[in-house]
Amino acid sequence: MIINHPLLGPRDAAEFVYLGDAALINRPDRSADNAADAFYEYMYLRDNPAGELRELWYHEQGDRSWLVVTRNTLTHEISKVELARDVAMASGRNR
């Protein structure tokens, strides 16, 4: 596969390490009442869709960017590639 890195252009997927569903960005708040359940769901449960999935790839053999790649799990077609930092910031994560 080829991942079109937003900073570096098209790169072979073999340069990357895969983590999984980009929902892993949404780490729960430890101080919330339901933190135990929230962390369990965050860590262990997956939508695992047959279709479009936003997922985390790390450019280990490259610039060390974490990317959010939108890829179809049936066709492997990639429709969008973003810097995970930008996605995290946009979803309200900061410090």
């Binding site: 072979d12 997927a13 569903d21 262990y44 997956r46 939508d47 047959a50 999935l53 799990t73």
Partner: protein
């Protein structure tokens, strides 16, 4: 029809005209005691043991495609019971014991071949871990032998003992491990279940689960609605898709595992050999093809195909320990979609929905578990109690912190 050598001869002499179908092709009935979704190895084994061990024969096995079309039809056929953890090892040893009597039980030759499985080790810590594992196996009633380099050499003289990047320092050998003819396992269970009255309904896709007030009462299929007292999901590879019909999210991701076969060759590989410092395992089929594989591709997918980096990685592992296979040619590559669970171990459990049961999360190791999976799932369906070797294979183990993580890589399915 009972199969025997005599029957083969009699049929041969009369032009092979008198064989009868191994299973019926029935129309679905309006209602069953148990519906099993998925006529893969596990689903068919479950149906067989429900009928044979528990006398529950008003059972339908529903299959989207042709029976045996799941991972039972696309694996590397290895059977073994060489696990470490007490949540796993007794279960897989039950499976091994069932394998050992399976063909006579089913009256079907599944070519179960206990020619041994050898895991190579390449470092002292790895040998220590193998010792821990081998002892756990023996303590669970399985067999295990710890070999030094010379012991490995006697079993597999063609390995690279001279020039390997990671020297072969020994191995853990399970003599009772080996291979089985994967398709025949599905066919044997299907025939056995059918003979006991189970309806195996092919080309019948489940498109919905009927759930009212927290109780599952049946399924909607491409061939209409079918009611059932109990619905047993058994669709590893598609578990998340089916369980999402019940609104459930699972501790499972779908990944592809590739496998490879070479052109037919005269015998060269004894038993099963696995490489301990790279991703490679190999055996040789009765037809002579080298059957080999390695790691999963590593990204979520529902496509039954993989990509070149993994293909090359596997072959590199092969050449690293067996440089004599270089001139053998890879004939075919294929992929199977795995239910990769969050701790690398499977799930056989009830769900929060009454009457709905779940069997899945087999990762890339479901084939060897086929008999025990069917046995334990049938036990659960028939009695609503966990079979004694399957008490830990529960859905809530992640919530409770009771993971069965053989590899120790945590909640990252692509690393198991």
């Amino acid at each position: 029809m009972r199969y025997s050598a005599l029957k083969v001869i009699k049929q041969g002499l009369s032009g092979n005209k008198g064989w009868t179908p191994a299973w019926r092709e029935p129309e679905p009935k309006p209602e069953y005691d148990v519906i099993i979704i998925g006529a893969g190895g596990h689903g068919l084994a479950t149906a067989y043991y429900l009928a044979k061990e528990h006398g529950i024969t008003n059972v339908a096995v529903l299959e989207k495609g042709w029976l045996g079309s799941g991972n039972i039809g696309r694996n590397t056929t290895i059977i073994r019971s060489n696990y470490i953890l007490p949540g796993n090892e007794p279960f897989y040893e039950l499976s091994m014991k069932l394998w050992e009597g399976l063909e006579q039980d089913l009256n079907y030759n599944a070519m179960i071949s206990q020619r041994g499985i050898l895991n190579l080790c390449h470092s002292d810590p790895q040998r220590d871990a193998f010792a821990r594992r081998g002892n756990a196996m023996l303590m669970a009633g399985a067999d295990a032998v710890l070999l030094d380099t010379d012991g490995v050499r006697k079993l597999c003289p063609d390995l690279d003992f001279e020039n390997a990047r990671f020297p072969i320092k020994g191995g853990l050998w399970q003599k009772r491990g080996g291979t089985a003819r994967h398709d025949a396992v599905a066919w044997g269970y299907a025939r056995g279940a059918d003979q006991r009255g189970v309806d195996i309904i092919q080309n019948c896709e489940v498109v919905g689960l009927q759930i009212n007030n927290g109780v599952c009462t049946g399924v909607d299929t491409t061939r209409g609605k079918i009611n059932a007292k109990k619905v047993a999901v058994c669709v590893a590879g598609s578990s998340s898709r089916v369980m999402s019909m019940a609104g459930m999210r699972l501790p499972i991701e779908s990944h592809v595992l590739q496998a490879f076969v070479s052109e037919g060759l005269k015998p060269t590989i004894p038993g099963v050999v696995t490489f301990g410092a790279g991703h490679f395992y190999i055996s040789q089929s009765d037809k002579g093809g080298l059957v080999f594989g390695g790691d999963i591709d590593g990204y979520n997918t529902y496509a039954q195909r993989g990509n070149l980096p993994t293909v090359e990685d596997v072959c590199e592992g092969g050449m690293a320990i067996m440089p004599n296979i270089g001139r053998a040619r890879m004939l075919r590559m294929w992929g199977g979609v795995m239910d990769m669970s969050m701790d690398g171990s499977p799930i056989i459990d009830k769900t929060d929905v009454a009457g709905l049961y779940f069997n899945g999360g087999w990762c890339y190791g479901g084939f060897k578990a086929t008999p025990a999976s069917g046995w334990c799932y049938a036990h659960l369906l028939a009695t609503d109690k966990y079979q004694e070797t399957a008490t830990e294979l529960r859905l809530d183990r992640f919530r409770r912190g009771r993971m069965i993580d053989e590899k120790g890589v945590g909640a990252q399915p692509n690393l198991h």
